[in-house]
Every structure is written in C-alpha cells, then in structure tokens.
Symmetry: D2
Subunit: 479 residues, 4 copies
C-alpha cells in the first residue's frame, strides 16, 4: 500500500474592503500577504457604485494578475478577494472564488474560508427544489439558501442561511450597497477588521494584511457574528447566540504568518513560547538547535534561548524552488540529487543536533531531514516538535480529512521515532500548547480547537459522522 506524501494545507484566505478609490489594488496587496493560505487560485470582485466586476484564475495572485490592466479594469471603491487552496482535480476555474451571482434585478459576490460539514445534505435538498449548482464548492450553497429563503427582509434571508450551514466558515458577501462579513459559531477560522488612514474598512483572514496595506486593527470578528459594512460605517449583529470560541490551534502552530495576531496574540511570539516550553519538556543532551526553515524558525529561537544552546543555520531552503520546477528522476534522487533543502555540513558536522519542526503529518519529511542531517555529519539528531502529535482529522477547513495520513494515529511515539530515524522524539504537550498560546478566555481548552490532538470535536460532525466513526477502527501500518 502506498501513501501520497502530503503536507498540511489551509483552505483559503479572504480579504475585503469598503470605501477606497483603489479597492482592487489594495485587495491585491492584501491577498498577496495571505498567499500562504492558498496558492492554487485567486480572484478579486469589485463593486463600482453597484456594478460588480471580477477577475479570477488558477495560480498565484501574481500569476492571476499578470498585467496591471487586469487590476485596473476592476474599478470601484469596494472589493472582496480570495486565495484558494485546492486538492488536485478540483482546479477548475469554476471553483475559484469570489463567486459572482447575477439576477435580473440584483447581483452579489461571495468568498469563503472554511469547510461546511452538512454540505452534502443541504445541496441535495436544494437540488430537489430545482437548484442548479455551477460549481462543486461548498461556498455556493449559501447563495442558494439565501435565494430560496422565504424571509422577506434581505438580512433575515442571510441570517437564516447562516443558521443552516454548519462547520467552519468565514464569509465575505459583497452586495450592491454593502459588504457583509460572517463567522461560524465557534470561530474556527480567524477574521479581523481594520481601518485605513483614509477611513476605508478592511476585513482579512489575518492581520498581516493590515501591516501590508497600512491599516490599523480594530477588532476580530466574534463567533456567531454577522457584520455589515457600508457607507454609514460598521454594524455588528449576530445570527445566533449559541456560540463558543474554539479557534483552530493549527493557525498558531503552522498556518498563520508569524507577523499576524489572532485574538490579540502575536503568532511569532506564541511560537517562540511553544519553543521555550518545548525546551522545558525536552529531556536530552545536545550541542546546537536547528529549526526547519521557514515555519519552525520562531520555535527554534524560543528553544535556543530557553535551553541556552546556540541556534544555528544547519538547514538551508532554496528560495527559488517553485511549483513548476523539474524534479530529479528517481535515479538521480538515489544519487543524492536534492533541491529544496540542504543540510550544512560545515555547521552540523560532529554535533548533537536538536531539530525543531512545527508538526509531523506522515513522517516522510521528518525522516528525510533527519537523514540529511546525519549524512552531513550530525552525530545525533533529536527531533523536537512544537505541537502535540497529530492523530485526528479536521473537518473545519484544514486538509487532513482522513486518519490514514497521520503517522501518530497509528503509531506510538517510540515507533514514530524509529520510523523517522531520530535519536529521540519529543512532542509538545497539549497543556503546554494551550499555555503557550495563552488566549484570554473562559472557553474550554483556552478557546482553542485541539481536536487534531485529542479527537474531541466542538460540534457534531453531520455528514462526516459515519465515515469518521469507521476510520477510528482502521489500523494502518506505515512503511
């Protein structure tokens, strides 16, 4: 049995703006700073005095908007944009957001970060009423729910639709006369509101976009909120009061950019604290600390400071490695030809190395890096992971939907250590993680979703329930 090597992937980022004469351009720069949340497609939809227009395509934001004209044609003072992560096979342009729904009497745009867990059921119900879906994306469901709602007031149609969808979602809805932002009742996905110097309101999956576009953070959208932004300002409303914060802990561990802050906590600082806590939980002797670039450099800094060991650049990532690169043949790979990551023998030779990584998914990458370091002369390689062991799938917007992909779902720590060839393996404890992030909240697990580590999901699983139950009984042997 063979497994595909997979890394963790976020499902999308959104950015919106209201009240800026160059709304498309600002959105472009905002999306650029969210590029790490999705590289398979991007789009921007603008609103020019009630007239919507859009440009979208597969690829990076810089590929989608190759020519200044692609942006310049998107006039208007309001916009929503989206960067998309897509699993292979769904790369059709039909699925690239923002979606744009046009009617004889109105139109609106829609962008979505997250994953619905009752999508199959809702879609079937809607199709039985005559609905035709133009994409395979969950996102389109909200539009059909709004159009089929029997409510008479438009905002009530929206609230009814938001109450029907379950799972993780951060929506941006561009109407002819307003921009609407909405978050799921658990706040699984981050969504923040900021303000530019000229008074324009911006909404973004991450606050790093605010630094880039020169905006000041106002506050994060809260679970169950629906926020209306129009020429009269910002109106905060709710579509449900049955809420409880459970923000995805993987945002802090891996996904979010280190310069973002989520619910008031800077991501780099949280990671450095995780590294420091990991150093306290680490029980071995070593000479130097080496972080796996780029995601684990903050944790490596924290580990080095707490442990007193020198932090060294023992692994180098080639900055020119792109998706379009020709890969070495199997034969060349066996001869040692590799491109993405090099171990620096001048640094690690003869040293006992603590290799810091943010997480282990399948173990394949960890095994390779351990091997690289040993070939470069490291005498011992102690793997220290800045998060607990990933053992359960996510249904709220991260692409780990099966336990088969997870080495920790099927192997003990000692088995894993042997598989990856390390001299020791240390995971951060769940409590250590929660303390390191340190949100100010009374919610369980410190306001975090840690279901990937303990299998306790904050909501029912709806359409996924049965498949998930079955997966718990599967035992998969790696390697």
């Amino acid at each position: 049995m063979t497994y595909e090597v997979k890394s963790l992937n976020e499902e999308c980022g959104v950015f919106g703006i209201w009240g800026h004469p160059q709304a498309a351009q600002v959105t472009y720069f905002g999306l650029h700073s969210l590029q790490h949340r999705g590289q398979e497609g991007a789009g921007i939809l603008t609103n020019d005095a009630g007239k919507l227009m859009r440009h979208r395509d597969t690829g990076l934001i810089s590929e989608v908007f190759k020519n200044p004209a692609d942006l310049e044609k998107l006039t208007g003072s309001a916009a929503i944009g989206h960067v998309r992560y897509a699993t292979a096979g769904e790369a059709s342009i039909d699925n690239i957001q923002p979606f744009w729904f046009k009617f004889h009497d109105t139109q609106f745009g829609l962008a979505h970060n997250g994953n619905l867990i009752n999508a199959v059921t809702l879609r079937q119900e809607l199709e039985e009423k005559g609905a035709i879906f133009s994409s395979s994306s969950d996102t389109e469901i909200l539009a059909h729910l709004i159009r089929h709602s029997k409510q008479t007031d438009f905002m009530n149609k929206v609230k009814e639709a938001l109450s029907s969808v379950k799972g993780g979602f951060a929506y941006l809805l561009m109407m002819e006369d307003k921009l609407i932002a909405a978050l799921d009742p658990n706040g699984f996905r981050p969504l923040s509101i900021g303000k530019m110097a000229n008074g324009a309101i911006v909404v973004s999956s991450e606050t790093c976009a605010f630094e880039v576009v020169g905006a000041q953070w106002i506050r994060d959208v809260k679970p169950g909120e629906v926020v209306v932004i129009d020429d009269s300002g910002i109106t905060y409303d709710t579509y449900t009061t049955d809420t409880q914060l459970a923000i995805c802990s993987m945002e802090y561990i891996y996904f979010a950019r280190p310069d973002s802050s989520i619910h008031g906590v800077n991501v780099h600082t949280a990671r450095k604290r995780m590294g420091a806590q990991l150093a306290r939980e680490f029980k071995h002797e070593a000479d130097i600390v080496v972080g796996v670039p780029n995601s684990s450099l903050s944790a490596a800094m924290g580990f080095a400071e707490e442990s007193g060991l020198p932090n060294e650049m023992g692994l180098i990532k080639n900055q020119y490695t792109q998706r379009t690169f020709i890969q070495p043949t199997q034969e060349l790979r066996e001869q040692g030809v590799r491109m993405k990551l090099s171990a620096v023998s001048g640094v690690v030779k003869g040293k006992r190395v603590v290799m810091i990584d943010d997480s282990i998914v399948r173990g394949t990458t960890s095994r390779r890096i351990v091997q690289l370091l040993k070939e470069a002369g490291a005498t011992e390689v102690h793997v220290a992971i800045g998060s607990p062991a990933l053992a359960y799938p996510c249904f709220y917007g991260i692409d780990i939907q099966t336990r088969k992909e997870l080495i920790a779902a099927n192997h003990t720590v000692e088995e894993t250590r042997q598989i990856i060839g390390a001299d020791s393996l240390t995971y951060l404890s769940i409590d250590g993680l929660i303390d390191s992030i340190g949100l100010e909240t009374d919610a369980p697990n410190g306001g975090l979703c840690v279901a990937y580590f303990d299998g306790k999901y904050p909501t029912p699983l709806y359409d996924y329930e049965e498949e998930y139950r079955k997966s718990l009984d599967e035992k998969v042997s790696f390697y």
Copy 2:
C-alpha cells in the same frame, strides 16, 4: 539629479560536469543551487560523444527549462551551465551563456563568471584583424583570442589567451574531448571541484551545488590554474605563476549561499563570526536583535549570542514576492501599502532594536526598514552592519562600477546615520572582517580583496583606470 535604487549584484555562476549519463539534469540542479548568483538568464550546453548541443533563454533556470523535454533533448555525459546576471538593456538572448562556437572542423562551448578589465582594448585589436563578435559580452573575447593564436598546440593557444585577458574570471570551456576550467591570477571569483559517487567530476562557482547534486568537495581551483578534465581524470596545470590570492570578500559577506564553503571556510559560520565581532564593536544599549531577512540572519544569530540579547523575528519577508509582481502606485505607497517586508509590531513595539544588515549600498533600503520598525513601535533603532562601509567600485565581477551609487563614498558615518534615520550606525571594521573570515594564507588582507572598503586594488585597472581616477574627485550629495 536622480539615482536608481540598486542592490548589489553578482555577475553570474557556472557549473560543469564530466562523466555522468545525465549530465544535463545534474547541471540543471547544480545551476538551481547557484540561482542567487544570476536570475536574468540561464543555459546548458552538453557534449554527447563530441557532439555539442545547447538550450538557453532569459529568465530563471525553472523558466528557461519549463518542460522536461528541454532537458531531455540535451543528451551526453558532459555539460557546462551558466546563470546570468545582466544589467537592463543587455537582456538579449545573444548574451546568454554558455556560448557555443562552431567551425567547419571543430566546436567548443564557453561559460564565464567575472569581469575583464582590458576587454575594450582586446576587442578593438581583434576586430581590426577581421573578427566579428556576435555578442556584447566580454566572454566571447577568449574564443577569438584562441582562434587568432599562432600557437600550434591547442592547450598552448588556450594558455596564451588566458594570459592576455585581465581582471576577474572563472572560465569553463567545453571541448569535444575535454572540459577545461581556469581561474584568474588573483582568484577573485570562487571555483571548486568535486566528485560524485559514480566518479563524475563537477566544477562549480560554489560548493552548495555539491550538496545538492550529492558530490564530495575535492579542492578549490587556485589562482592562475588551468584544469583539464577528461576521461583520464583531472590534470592541474598553470598558465601563469604570477599569482596572489585576493578572493572577493563580498562573497563571504553577501553573495555566497550560507551553506557554501570557500577556501575551506563555511559562509554561515563566517557571517556568524562577523555578527559576533560586530557585537564586540557595538557600543550601545538595546533590548532585542532583529536581522534583515534573509541575508543577515546568520550575522544576527552571532550578534545575539555574543551580546546575550534575544534574537527576534521583527521583520518578515514575503516569500511570494516575485519579479513579475505588480507594484503599488506611488499614491498607495504613501498610504502605507508595502509588500516585500513587514515589521512585526507585536515583536518590536516598545523595544530598542539592533537591526542587523549585511551592507549599505545607497542607503535607501536601510532608511525604509528603519522607518518600518519605528512605525511598528520600536523606540530606538540601532543599525549594525556586518561589513565595513562600501566606498569604492568593483571591477572584477560585481555590479558596482561607479562611486555615485555608494552613500559611504560621499558621506561620513554620522551623515549616513542621519540620512537613514537610525539612532546609531555601526560598521564592522576591516580588520574585524578579515579576522572573522580567517582564511589560512600569508597573502595580504588575509587573502581577501577589500578594495570596496579601502580603494586599494590588487591589479592595475587597465581600461577602467582613467574613469576611476576621475570618479575619485566627484562629490555627490545624496538626498
């Protein structure tokens, strides 16, 4: 008077191989690891049992070789490759290397890293003999010199030609039956020889390519050497004995990859020592150390360890910023829209920051970063530079050919500090630099060329002499 904002640029990288069934593929991966030395063009020329073939184009190596077929058509067991840095306007494909010279009875390929200083004179002499040049590149001169040589033995023609050209050069010459590597009498540019597990010999501008292709380092080519590699092995010969090592110190400071070693010294380690020495020379109080990503991270590590201050990720570089990116308009830039670098206010707010950078060219970038850090809340920004002040041009292969581009050529340290808006400005001393690199040699300046800092060039300047003398009298006021 306006100045263009310029960063330092290396002029090219070369890679060669003899004796590998997939010579083109290995060269591709080798060049990929040298991509930082030139991004404007690339090419590979292979030798299949005496039949040469070539593919070259403008762009990154991954753009030049978009399709596997581009590589597969280059059969043969030997190859030379080149990545090219080019100033605007010379981006013609005619100038992209390797060059390929075909005759009715023979043919050869040629790749070059460096800059000749008597090129104008040589070209004029050759044209008066009827020579027609097909490019504006210095590199072609060597081929005409070889063809016009009156020597009868081919290697004597090559040696005569090598003795005629002056300046900095590392040449790779692919003949039908051998690969020739040659280095200038001062060894201004790095050039190393390695061996793969299957016995193939590789030659590269930097040893980082050896890690990538799985080769072991044998030794560096020495000043004045001409090395012949063919089926019988490696033969080391010299074309001159009037040599003296003066390797470009900027290779250690900025250009070379941290995982490369030059003349036995690992580049990351040298930089870390520069950072530590800089900490010893630094005279101010501060709270945290922040390196400018990515080139100054090693020096920041060394500074932090030596000073005991925490090393923090206070600046974030967007990894998706590409050459093709649409830039913010002036208007948006004034509104604070920026893309390449963000300061992390969650990290620097309220802190006295030591900002570590590798060098200052025009000062424009330093001024921007200082401003970014202050806007993000840093109370003080102390700029510490991991090299001495750049005040003189380079004629041996780095693109700083006029003093007008250099802030330190025209301003004192205190003036520069005011221009960039820092609270203090510290440069590493020349002696500190030489000691930090620490080559084992008896040559002056520890075997380094430090002419950019002290204006003492290791050779006569030939065609550049007059212009350089004039430039010393020019005084240019910045800002």
Copy 3:
C-alpha cells in the same frame, strides 16, 4: 455619430456523435469544419459510459485544443461540441459551450445554435422560483426549465421545456445514456444527421462536417422534431406539430460553407445560380467579373458563365491575416497601407469591372473595395450583390439586431450607390433569390426566412417586439 464597422456573424455551430471510440477526436474535426460559424470560443463535452467530462476555452478550436492531451483526456464514445460566436464583452469563459450541469444524482451537457426571443421573460420567471444562472447565455434557460418541470418522465420534461422556448434553436443535449437533438418549429437553423462507416451517428449544423469526418448524410432534422440517439439507434419524435419551414436564407447566401448541402441543396450550386440570376437582372456593360474573396467566388463564377464575361482574380485576400494582427495606424492607413485585401492593377487596369459581393451590411467594406479597384485602375466599378438589400434585423440567430447597422434600412439603392462610390449597384431580387435556392417545399417564400429583406417575420417577436416597433420609426443618416 459614429458606427462600428460590422460584418455579418453567425451565432454558433454544433456537432454531436454517439457510438465512436474516439468521439472527442471526431468532434474536434467536425467542429474544425464548422469554425466559420464561430471563432470566439469552442468546447467539447464527452460521455464515457455515463461519466461526462469537458474542455472549453476562448479562441479557435485549434487554440482551445493546443495539445493532443487536451483531446486525449476526453475519453468516451459520445460527445457534443460547440463553436461560439460572441459579441465583444461576453467573451467570458462562463458563456462558452457546451454547458455542463451536475446534480447529486445525474448530469447532462447542452449545446445550442440560435437565439431565443422570450429569454428575458423566462429567465425572470425562473429566478423568481429561486433559480441561479451561472451564465448570461440564453442556452442555460433550457436546463432550468427541465429541472423545474413538474412532468415525471424525463423526455416529457424535455418536451415541455422545448415548448416553452421561442425563437431559433438547434439543441444538442448529452444525457448519461443518450444524445438528444432538437430543432425549433420553423427550422430557422440547419441541423443534419449522418452515419459513419463504423455505425456511429453524427449530428451537425452543416453537412460539410460529414465530408470531413467521413460520414454519410442520412437526413436533416425537421422543424419541431426531437431526436433521440442511443445504443438502440435513432428515434424521431416531435414536441409540437405547429411547424412551418422557414430556414434562414442567409445560410445559403453567406454563412454556410459552399460544400454543405441544406435541405438537399448544395450551397455552392445555389450561390452559382444566384450569380447567374444576378447576371440576368444586371443591366450594365462591363469587361470583367471580379468576385470579392472568398465568400463571393461561387456567385462570380455563375455571373461570369451566364454573362460570358471573363472571371478574373482582381482582388487578393491575404491568407495570413489573423485576428491577432497589428493594424496600421490611421496615419499609415491614409498613406495607403492596407493588409487584408489587395486589388491587382495588372488585372483591372483600364477595365470596366463587375464586382460581385454576397451582401452589403453597413456599406463601409463595399466602399473600400470600390475605392481599391478604382485606385488600381478600373475605369468603372459596377457592384452586383448576390442577395436582396438587407434592411431588417434578425432575431433567430444572426448578429444583426438593430436596423441602425443596415445601410439599406435607411437609404435608397441610388443613395447607397453614391455612398459606396460605385458606377452602378444591383441587388438580386427576392424572387430571384428564392428561385435560385429552389427548395422543394410548399411553405411560403419557398421555405425560406427572408425577413431581413422584407420585414415579415414568421413568428411573433416576444421580448423584442417593442424595441423592434420603435426601431422602424428611427431614421439614421449614414456618413
């Protein structure tokens, strides 16, 4: 007031196949022969044992399917394809056919040639029931009508939907288990059925595709028919009996390829007869006949034979003129720089020329060609048009939807002659046209729609009625 220069444009061509192992490839070649019916977009949807797949894009069929892989990935033994004509601004890929509708329990594809005249009304009714349209194309309406139909049997849903749409249409509907072809009650658009040697059934807008794919013509689809093609063969059914043949006469005059036959009449032969009839109606003296390439060459042959005048190549069309060509600036155009058409002075100098063209829309092109011929030395230019004067818009699938575009709607023949600068101007009579085509039928106007010439439309105009009535009162002065 300025007018855009417009030529006549057909709205689309369709091709379908059932029962061929290389259905996509055959469809590709079929569409290639229908390329003249639409150059703005193309697509193919195949059916592989109930699994549908599709490839579509803007551009010529050869641009849409650039790589053999684009075709090879479309497996299956049945297919429908479409070439699209689009007015500027609607070139979005969303509007390129075949459309593909996917449901949780079924899916189907749809391609359409023609124009609906009650589309606005139907779309509004459907949206009020919750329908969301994913394109601005009329074509999508049929799918929504089928899905909203209360009929229980699928074919009854289809027939109900076909009865609801009004105007000109030839539909191909690819179901999981059958291919359905349907024609409007007047048979405005051509649609023919053929059979390949291996038994595969093909359906095409024109029979020229049958020559190209090696198929034998069986018969044309009749007005009001719905034809089902599946593994058991062909079943002819009707959805209405209220039918009357009124095939678009412009198909014979201009659109269809000369090698096609429609309702049994070869197009080249019909045109040659129009040319001969035109010669009989022509009242002037002349020396030579020159047809405007390429569409008027058949009529010129007929005219020359009937009149006894020599047929000469007095106008040359540049075969390399493409849509992407850089056009001469206004300045160069005034200096006489032109690219598409040249007059041959060696042929026309000193001659009285009969210039044969198929039709006059705005007159701009005719005026230019007359001028070209005179500049090349023609002493007289007598313009003879192979059809009656175009004075009324078409609503059934040809892109002349406003009278403003038509010179004959606003000017007498004598005025037109003066505007185009001809020495005489002769149009073919309506009766001459009908006789030349010579369909075997009892229907009015010999089974032809000649509404462009006499303003008598075979159906009510529905959504277009009001606008059309108004346009009759507008008087527009050209030039």
Copy 4:
C-alpha cells in the same frame, strides 16, 4: 524505404525602406504581404539616425510581432526585414534574419533571399583566417568577406565580396548611412524598387508589397546590380558585367503572389495564360474544370475560358487549417477523417473532372486529391499540370535539393499517371511555359531558369557539382 511528403518551398523574402518616419511599421506590412515566401521566422532591423535596433523570432510575422510595443520600440526612418523559410532542425533563432553585425566603430544589418553554391568553400577559407561564425546560415559569409577585404573604400569591399559569392542572391544591407540592395548575376530571385507618396524608397522581393504599403513600382533590380539608397536618392551601380537574366520560372508558376508582377509580367495573368495554353495542349474530353485551391485557381480560370468548360468549386480548402492543428490519427485517417481539403460531391458527382494543379513534386498530394474527387463521385479525373515535369533539383534558393524527392525524375508520365490514379495526366510543355510568361528579353529560355525541367543550369554548381553528378545515376522507385 520511406519518403517524407514535401511541398515546394521558397527560401525567404526581403523588404527594405529608406526615408519613412514609421519605417518598422511599413516593413511589417510589407513583410506580411511576403509571408507566403517564408513562415518559420521573421525579423525587422531599423536604423534611427545611425543607431540600429532589431526584433526577430521564430514564427509568422504576426507571432513575432505580437504586441504593438514590439514594433514601436523599433524607431527610425529606415529598415530592412526578412521572412524566413527553414528546413527542420535549423529553426534556431540564431539563423533568423536580418543579421546584425556590431563593431567597436560601426555596425550593419543584412538580409538575404537565395542560396549560395560556394558557401562551404568560402566558410572554410574564412575560418582558417580566424573568423568565428555565429550562425549556420550562408548569409553571414558576406559580412565576413566584407570585413576581411583588403580594399580601402567601403563600397569596393562590398563589391569584392559580392563578386566572391556564387549562386542566387538578393541582398539588403543596412549601413548606418545608407541601404544597399544587390542581385546575383543571373537575377535568379526577384527584387523590385518602389516609391511611396512621401518619397520613401522601398525594396521588396515582390511587388505585391507595394500595393499593400501604397507604393509605386519604379523598376526591378537587374542582374549584377548593386543599388545604393540614401538621403540623396537612388544610385544604380554594378559589381560585375558578366550577367545574363535567368529568373526562376517557379516564381511565376507557384511561389509569387498572383498580384505581383516580375519583370513587368503580372503573375495571375501569366498563370491564366499557362492555363489557357494547357487547355490547348490537353487532349481529353471532360465536363468541368476544378482548380486545386488556392495556387491553381488562376490556371483553372484560363483553362476554363480557353476550353469553354465550366469552372467549378469542386474542392474546398479549410481556411482555418494552421500549422498548430492537431492531426487525425492514422486510424481516423483511414476512417475518412480529413481536414485540409474537401471534395464537394454536390459539384463533382457524375462528372468528368479536369483537375488543375500547378506542379507535381512527389505525387503524394496529387494522388490524394484524385482519390478525394473519385470518392465524391467524379467519374473521371484528368490531371492537368500548369508547368512541365519537375525532374531536377534547384540550387539557387528553392528547397528541392535532391532528385529523390521528385517523382518525374524517376518515372515516365504514364507511370506517374498510374501512381496518382488519374485517368490522364498532361504537363505543360517547356515552350508553352516560356511563351505563356512572355518576358521581353533576348536571353536564352526567354530569360527564365527552367533547369528544374531540363537539367541545364545557367552556372557551374561549385560545391554541389559532385553530389549532383552522383545523383543523376541514382534510380529511385516510388511506391
């Protein structure tokens, strides 16, 4: 033994202009009208007050100059341009003209139509003097000859070089201060001079370019002439007096555009006369005349008029067939799928057809068309060829360099008739050809080169002599 299907190919077209503010644009339109002379590459070199600049690439002129900016950047009031025909494998951009030679003190551009027959000898001699060629093209030789000339006056260098090269050539040489045009001593290739309304002088391979750019023909360049065009006007000079007109008869038969005139004879008119003469030499009964589109339509007109038979459109060429088109697989081809040419059964069914074609090279195409016509129902197909049988290669600029490609070199007329499956086969007689063209000259063969038909070459064959002699003894059996 297999043979490649080959059609006749011209080797290149040239266009030059002096004294027009938009020289590049005019050259673009001029080259566009010469596109039929070469489709593999194109380029334009302009002269802006002594500063030369160039753009060239593979592909059609419309592909090479995709963006208006490609043209606009070529400023200056003088230009030379080239369209290139290339045999496979030589498609490198290095061989695309105009060539551009740059020296420390001067520079010039060069474009060439024709083929040298002593190129191998000259190149070897030059390389022994140290010359390095940058292309594999014959054209470059002239530049090296000029640079190695010991003459002191530049025009004398040029004349000496022109006297050294042998074969067919029409050169355009762009100097900093003048445009030079030169023709070989036999005038094998056409070259005409014209004048635009604004006084600009243009030079072109064919006069059709004059119609397109709005220029008046002045006169054709004569054998052995070297023409200098500069700001003072046109100066006609000669580099040799040993001249004799032998213009390539294939220019009249096949290559040149019908609207061009060569040495005063319009090409369409010449072809029509060939068709009429062919009708007189034709000895069979038939019902209709069908010309193979597009090159044989003129001859078909002449044949029809002379014979009194109706001229019919029995073969249709698909105007959208492009080089990039996906071709039918062998399997589909056997099922009758074809794309480029269709026979119109509605026209040819039951008819005895005279099929007019301009020439037969290998016979493969003729055999296919005969088969197409018979499958479409023609009862007899009489092939009548508007030129004598092609039996000998050309060395002066047409791509038939071996007798193996020519069916008439190895088969009698009767054998050929059987091979192509025709009911009769008639070639035009050599005298009939010469009379039909009817040049006013005393030169042998009416001033034409008819060596392809009788093997009598107007010059020694130099480097080709030996290979040609050998080929006369080879007998190759087709099919």
